[in-house]
Assembly symmetry: C2
Homo-oligomer: 210 residues x 2
């Protein structure tokens, strides 16, 4: 299974990101190539419109230039490319903090693409975020070398039905979780792993640290 890491231009708490060296491919979205270098990754492709960053002066990477005026973000173009080139497991570094229009766009990207891959996540120095469709899952505290204290369970659809959470500080049993609530924030995995299941809706999982 081909695994690709995408590095974007804006990443919160970049210095704490580690454990991402076992990927088959690294794509930098626009100025993300500067961040890739900072976490010890050498992109094999750099894709973007380079409206807020310059093209690298020296690089062995393939460079794909996009038009500045377009209906999608550089991050979406990078993800689209990863999928076209056969990736099934993609982790996107950045895109969750700072400009909130980008955060919402990335949430839209997550929802649009997650079923096309076996795994798709956004990650920065605070969070590891992905989406789940109905089913049963085991969630671990440690992901790519980082142990996360908090587990957030949020409904992306209007309601998430028959939600059960086990192995956590605040368990739930057959609960209907609405999108419009703050109840799912700040749970904590207290066993070796958490068990989560639900029958209808879409869920956003956030593993996070303060």
């Amino acid at each position: 299974m081909k695994k690709t890491i995408i590095v974007t231009a804006y990443i919160d708490r970049l210095s704490t990101i580690k454990g991402l060296h076992n990927f088959d491919s690294c794509i930098a979205a626009d100025g993300g190539y500067l961040n890739a270098n900072k976490i010890g990754l050498a992109p094999d492709v750099i894709i973007g419109d380079f409206d807020s960053s310059q093209l690298p002066k020296k690089s062995n990477a393939e460079i794909l230039a996009l038009p500045m005026e377009k209906d999608f973000t550089d991050t979406e173009a990078a993800l689209d490319l990863a999928i076209k080139r056969g990736s099934e497991h993609v982790v996107i570094i950045g895109g969750l903090g700072r400009r909130f229009d980008h955060t919402l766009a990335n949430l839209g990207i997550l929802a649009k693409y997650y079923k096309k891959l076996s795994h798709l996540a956004f990650m920065d120095g605070y969070n590891y975020v992905y989406m789940l469709s109905p089913g049963s899952y085991r969630l671990q505290k440690k992901i790519y070398g980082t142990e996360y204290k908090y587990l957030g369970v949020s409904s992306y659809s209007d309601y998430c039905e028959n939600l059960s959470i086990k192995g956590c500080k605040y368990p739930l049993e057959d609960y209907t979780l609405p999108k419009v609530t703050s109840l799912g924030a700040s749970n904590e995995i207290i066993s070796y792993n958490a068990e989560i299941s639900f029958s209808k809706g879409e869920i956003i999982i956030t593993h996070s640290n303060d």
Copy 2:
């Protein structure tokens, strides 16, 4: 009309926040009282569970202690209090970056409460974010002394129908905007103000700067 400002514990780019001195009341959510002091505001109420911050040693503010284990966040408790005490216009400082479970909880809070008030917004040093229900609106570039370059228009409901945007770099006419897209990010107001209208759904407006 009573205007309240709520200051939370985690605020991105706090140093750029200004122009918030004409409010009738200031409520600090938990450790937010430290941030309130940093932007020159003296809270008249401090509410929270004080699980990650200490109670202030000296303060003229009313202090309301919440239980640590509860089904709502300190931010929601502060907003609930503001409404109970007659506020109709509330700006919440912070809550959009860092931990993504908190960001999603705050988006849920925005959706749950915005119709109960004449205005409800989240603000930090990058963004000014609020929600709109169907209708016609004029949006200005400058809000509370800050001029915002970017305007993001995102659907919070599955679809937003008959969306028209005028006075912007990328205008739209009778467009159906899905939740699952990055298209609404990075627009720009190019006239004195933008005009936006839609007939169905709920929209999240983000005014932002890099």
